[in-house]
Assembly symmetry: C2
Homo-oligomer: 410 residues x 2
């Protein structure tokens, strides 16, 4: 038998979201009459925009005749999309220096977050926010950078604590860390970061020679001034940061699979012999070898988001989900819970005024009020006592679940 | 600056196909009047089948209303497609024991071939055919399993020589190798493998505890009896082999990105502590962590291939490309070259009766006859003296290029 990657042995078998799914299924089986409203859902529910639908029908038609057929596209994405991204998401928002050639279109942020581990050294130390989206940790485990799991922690990871006392903002570490995963607006806390706060991280990365992998999948939900949408708003960030983005939440593309990653050409790394190399060229080499581009149909759909009509649609859809998040936040505050996020993010992060653990809260809301949440402890030890809820269900379902809560809770 | 993966330093900067593309572009620039027919093309050119187009339009429409919307799909692919694959590509062809849960739908063979390296040990030794599709080698280099490049060879790889004297079939190695990449019908030689020949490899893998990664992306082109379409036609293969497939060539999906990989549940590996584990569970964990499923629209399109109409379309399209391959093969034989492949494969592999190297042949055909080829040396040292041509251009262009050759060559 072949020897396998030992790092898998240490990985917990069950992925948080599958575990939640299983428990909901078990609850439904035991309570066949009860309806369960999914407030834990990390997926969009609104249909694609008419402009996107139209662009995708046209793309499908392109593929139906030899003269307009598109086979293999560039692994980095089509110029029509890379150009639109560089112009609309960067240049027109006042961010200078991000060019189409810095942008790599992909099949989504989750793939890129995992695959980026191919380009930096296996010896790199890694920092993750606590709590955080579980894949940063799991990717690091699979790639052998997490060490051993001892007392609920991976002993080679640096955990950036994001608790209520620090307003859910991580503090820069005292020690040098090589690779730092930051996610803002944050999943799961729903809290976004100010330019002043993020500048501390860019400065830290410059001073320590670190790489920031900045997950801004939720940037379309930012509403307040002074809050960061792109890390490249911070001067000098293009020398220390890769930005990972997705059309999934912005435009409802979770089922279409299209996102992009920005690797500025001025971002450098170093081989063990001291030779410098641009990370853009390494990522390009990785993607041209282990990836074959994103679906033409999805890329045509994504490019429609950058029309005037598409941009208005993105605003409308994100406003809708933010409206749901507000309803959730208000309801939790009404019953005396503390609730965070939900202003520049579709996520709401709530805890009981008493000392109740996450799975107890999960059971309480499911059992008594028929709605599901995601236990905060699944995102890391600092998430214990919290549940995450999202604005991704319909307005009607969100209102129904929150009415049950406000009316039934005492 | 961050330390990067040292293995990239050893990788040749330019990927074979980009180099060919660059040289063709340079030739065109120097010869503005001349038309160049691409006989090197590794991409399909025929439009998608009407049944696929119809299914994709319907899928796009599904995404246009909340009631039929599909967000995140299962990372492993939708049941409608996994079931159709298990039934049509395996059970109905008399291959027993391949279940839907063994099948992982992906965004294409190239991604899976690269990403599979995550699940086996970094210490595994690797064998590749010589010549071979370059990514098996490049993936192994990136993952640190290839060693150092010395005199045109990676010193940790085992090269399975596939020269004319052995009818382009590799011989099983004398030593133990852990992971063996086999590709049949082969790219670049176009030669397919018989059941008797492949049985030797399954036996070798059983006796040596090896894993075969079997790339059968071109199985739809197999026409002769006794020739293998799936490695699971060989008894016991499901205990030693992963099969990687693609809809790209079968159904023209190169721009849509959809393929699948079969990891039978009875295929086991072992951790360094001696504990056994199924590779299916490891691949499932890898894919659920670093991948988020294949586009819903592409999966709906792929499922249309398994209707009666779709299957007839696959036969018709592959017949068309095989017809082109025959024209190429006949033309090269007519000018006194030796030509191989082209019977169970869209690829033709040709060499001069004299001692001419691959890039010289490339220059000759481009310069004198205005058609491009892929230099065989780009696929490995054993490819030198050969060029690869494909049946993927149109019938008209193929006939035109081959007429130029037959009429002009002396």
């Amino acid at each position: 038998m072949i020897e396998v990657n030992d790092n898998f042995r240490e990985l917990p078998v069950s992925y948080l979201f599958s575990e939640v799914g299983k428990r909901i299924a078990a609850f439904k089986k035991e309570n066949p009459g009860k309806d369960v409203i999914r407030m834990d859902i990390g997926d969009v529910t609104r249909p694609l925009f008419p402009s996107v639908i139209k662009a995708m029908h046209a793309a499908v038609d392109d593929l139906s005749s030899a003269s307009s057929f598109h086979g293999y596209g560039p692994e980095q994405g089509y110029a029509f999309l890379r150009d639109a991204i560089a112009r609309n998401d960067y240049a027109e928002r006042g961010i200078e220096g991000i060019e189409a050639s810095d942008i790599f279109v992909s099949d989504g942020a989750k793939s890129d977050l995992g695959n980026l581990g191919d380009i930096y050294s296996p010896e790199c130390s890694v920092a993750v926010m606590n709590p955080s989206y579980p894949v940063y940790v799991d990717d690091s485990v699979i790639d052998g950078r997490a060490g051993t799991f001892v007392n609920g922690r991976w002993d080679s990871l640096t955990y950036l604590e994001c608790g209520e006392s620090g307003s859910f903002m991580p503090a820069v570490p005292r020690e040098k860390v090589d690779v730092i995963f930051l996610c803002f607006p944050n999943n799961p806390t729903g809290e976004a970061i100010s330019r002043n706060e993020l500048k501390k991280w860019v400065d830290y990365a410059k001073n320590n020679g670190s790489l920031i992998i900045y997950d801004s999948a939720y940037e379309a939900f930012v509403r307040q001034p002074g809050i960061v949408r792109s890390i490249y708003e911070i001067e000098g960030a293009s020398e220390v940061a890769i930005e990972v983005r997705s059309f999934s939440k912005t435009a409802g593309f979770t089922g279409l699979r299209c996102g992009y990653t920005v690797v500025p050409k001025c971002l450098k790394g170093v081989y063990s012999n001291g030779e410098e190399v641009s990370l853009n060229s390494l990522w390009n080499r990785r993607q041209t070898t282990k990836f074959n581009g994103c679906s033409y149909v999805a890329q045509r759909g994504a490019s429609a988001i950058y029309t005037a009509e598409g941009m208005a649609d993105v605003k409308r859809a994100s406003d809708y989900y933010l409206g749901n998040a507000k309803i959730i936040k208000d309801a939790f505050e009404a019953i005396g819970f503390k609730a965070f996020g939900g202003v520049n993010s579709p996520y709401v992060w709530a805890c009981s005024p008493e000392d109740v653990d996450s799975w107890e809260l999960f059971n309480l809301f499911l059992g008594r009020f028929g709605f599901s949440t995601t236990p905060g402890s699944g995102f890391g030890s600092a998430g214990d006592g919290f549940v995450r809820m999202t604005g991704f269900n319909s307005r009607e379902n969100t209102e129904k679940a929150m009415s049950r809560l406000v009316e039934g809770y005492k």
